[in-house]
């Protein structure tokens, strides 16, 4: 895999090894193992309650596994100092609003926090980094707009910008296109592909099998707290897999020469 930074330290490989987790003795994840490396976009597909959100929080070090471990560049997450981890691993949440009228620039500047420290003002360099990132994502003109007043697509790009401002090479996204219109969804997925092309390692949870097909290098299927498949999108995301995950019957329409697949509900979507 190619990286912009040559050193192994900057690689950004995130690895979950035999991760078990339970809430109040109810097992949520059982022996989850997978790897995300630089240049990859790994999509996590699973029904509501399959453990997707829990897995993302474990990958971010917000929860500790009951057994097994999550490592970044070979070192367990819990052994990283908090701020150092934040400079390598970033969380991109679903779009939200803030109760205070922060500007887009304010929100992205927060990404510099792990670098500058909890009590320090951002420096001229931090501001320059932010301006540069906003320009790269094509939202430079929004810098002084209020974060809560821009569109959902613009907000999602702002959150990506914040993650990049952290300097992180590994991004964890929670259902990033939820609430975006069709055009913004496609444009956003294009941004993710470009970031992976630039050497970022990306994991995203998604509700859309078609998005997993379109914008991933690999797809994981999470079912009942276990990973039941892990491979290239075209192999993994099939009508059979969808039937197993979501308990609905769909038909696939493929155009192999265009490398595109669409799913369409079967006449009777019920499974027996």
């Amino acid at each position: 895999m190619s990286t912009l930074h040559g050193s192994a330290d900057a690689a950004g490989e995130l690895l979950a090894r035999e991760v078990h987790f339970a809430f109040a003795r109810r097992p949520v994840l059982c022996g989850v193992t997978f790897r995300v490396g630089p240049g990859e976009v790994v999509s996590l597909l699973g029904a509501n309650g399959s453990g997707k959100t829990t897995l993302l929080r474990l990958l971010l070090g917000l929860l500790q596994p009951a057994s097994g471990e999550v490592t970044l560049n070979g070192k367990p997450l819990r052994r990283y100092p908090r701020r150092e981890l934040a400079q390598r691993l970033a969380y991109v949440p679903q779009t939200h609003t803030t109760p205070f009228p922060y500007t887009v620039r304010d929100v992205v500047l927060l990404g510099r926090l792990p670098c500058t420290g909890l009590t320090h003002s951002p420096s001229r360099h931090d501001c320059a980094v932010v301006v540069d990132i906003l320009a790269r994502l094509g939202i430079g003109a929004l810098a002084e707009r209020r974060y809560s007043e821009i569109s959902g697509g613009e907000r999602q790009l702002t959150l990506i910008a914040r993650a990049l401002a952290q300097g992180a090479r590994t991004l964890v996204l929670d259902e990033p296109v939820t609430g975006l219109d069709y055009g913004n969804q496609l444009r956003f997925l294009e941004h993710l592909r470009a970031l992976a092309g630039a050497g970022y390692a990306i994991v995203k949870a998604t509700h859309h099998p078609e998005h997993a097909l379109m914008a991933s290098t690999r797809v994981l299927l999470l079912h009942g707290g276990r990973i039941i498949d892990d491979g290239p999108p075209q192999q993994v995301v099939t009508p059979e897999a969808i039937a197993r995950l979501y308990r609905v019957r769909v038909r696939a329409f493929s155009a192999p020469e265009a490398r595109a697949t669409a799913f369409y509900p079967a006449d009777d979507t019920r499974l027996d």
Binding site: L60, T98, V107, L113
Partner: protein, 341 residues
């Protein structure tokens, strides 16, 4: 983008200058009005730069230093402390409608003060109990939250509501058993807030922790901005969320309880001033917290000057902050509403 930053930065010296002018003006107004020129001459004489006749010096010393300075300093301290606590609370609880009362500190302090008035004739006992019970009330609220499941915003608010209710009920018990001719009026008077209860010595030793508390809160600005985004996001930005949240609650509680020791219950400052400050310098806590401190001090000085000069009888400060606070809040609400939705 530079423009807004420049304007926001330019407001700093302006606010500081305004505060100095307001202090001078507050020293001048009252039942015995003094020209600002006399105050300036008194200050210069105090620095041994000019000479004043002895009897004029004594008169000015009595009015300025013994009568007005304690309450002017009290107004500055109490205003700054309540406004800073309010701003920090709003960030920590991610809610612009929150004030330092949320965790029950004022209810606890009011109970403590009432208890002190009931059992003792010494102000020192009342002040000490006001402070102690404010701290106890918040500790109780936080413990309830922890028993119920942790440091989340919802649990803490719930704990605060329970604690506030408990201590308000305890206050009612004290009021009910208090002698209605001697003690009850004193309790009621305390609950309305009063800036004239202190002397310079008390102000001296409370100024240090209050000033330090305001500075520590102000230094946490960037961490509070991250907290306003949500717990998971703040953690993934490297912020120790639980420590910051408990730390801010502890500091805000200490300085709010001290304000009750100094001046009784002064409501509304901690709710309104943060909004006024946000309209002036934006929501970034690095600027907002110091601006809140300055505007809080200004607001209470102004209110106190009105309370001393409007009418023959001094109007209790807590009544005026509420009366002035309601229209101020309506104006702010009108302008800030869009940002909250």
């Amino acid at each position: 983008m530079r423009l807004r930053t420049a304007i926001a930065a330019g407001r700093w010296p302006l606010l500081g200058l305004l505060l100095v002018v307001a202090v001078a003006a507050a020293l001048a107004v009252g039942r015995y009005p003094l020209p600002v020129r006399d105050i300036a001459r008194f200050a210069l004489a105090g620095l041994h730069l000019i000479e004043l006749p002895a009897e004029q010096w004594d008169l000015l010393y009595n009015v300025i230093v013994q009568i007005r300075l304690p309450r002017v300093l009290t107004a500055v301290l109490v205003g700054a402390a309540l406004a800073t606590s309010g701003t920090a609370y709003q960030a920590v609880f991610r809610n612009p409608l929150v004030s330092p009362e949320l965790m029950g500190v004022l209810a606890g302090s009011a109970f403590g003060a009432a208890l002190g008035i009931l059992v003792s004739h010494h102000w020192a006992v009342t002040q000490a109990l006001a402070f102690a019970m404010g701290v106890v009330a918040v500790a109780f609220g936080v413990s309830v939250a922890r028993l119920a499941g942790g440091a989340s915003v919802v649990m803490l608010v719930l704990g605060g509501v329970i604690s506030g209710t408990l201590f308000t009920a305890l206050l009612a018990v004290v009021s009910f058993v208090a002698d209605p001719y001697q003690k009850l009026p004193a309790i009621e008077y305390w609950l309305m807030g009063n800036l004239s209860l202190t002397d310079l010595r008390t102000i001296g030793w409370t100024a240090l922790p209050m000033g330090a508390g305001v500075l520590v809160l102000a230094s946490l600005g960037p961490a509070l901005d991250a907290l306003a985004m949500g717990d998971d996001e703040a953690r993934s930005l490297g912020v120790p969320v639980t420590a910051v949240r408990y730390g801010v609650i502890a500091i805000a509680t200490l300085i709010s309880a001290l304000t009750v020791s100094l001046a009784g219950v002064v409501g509304w400052v901690g709710l309104i001033v943060p909004h006024v400050a946000r309209l002036m310098v934006g929501p970034g806590n690095r600027r907002l917290l110091p601006a809140s401190a300055l505007i809080g001090a200004l607001f209470l000085l102004l209110t106190d000057s009105i309370s001393r000069s409007w009418y023959n009888v001094e109007i209790p400060i807590g009544i005026l902050t509420a009366l002035l606070g309601v229209p101020a809040f309506l104006i702010v609400l009108h302008r800030a509403r869009k940002a909250w939705l």
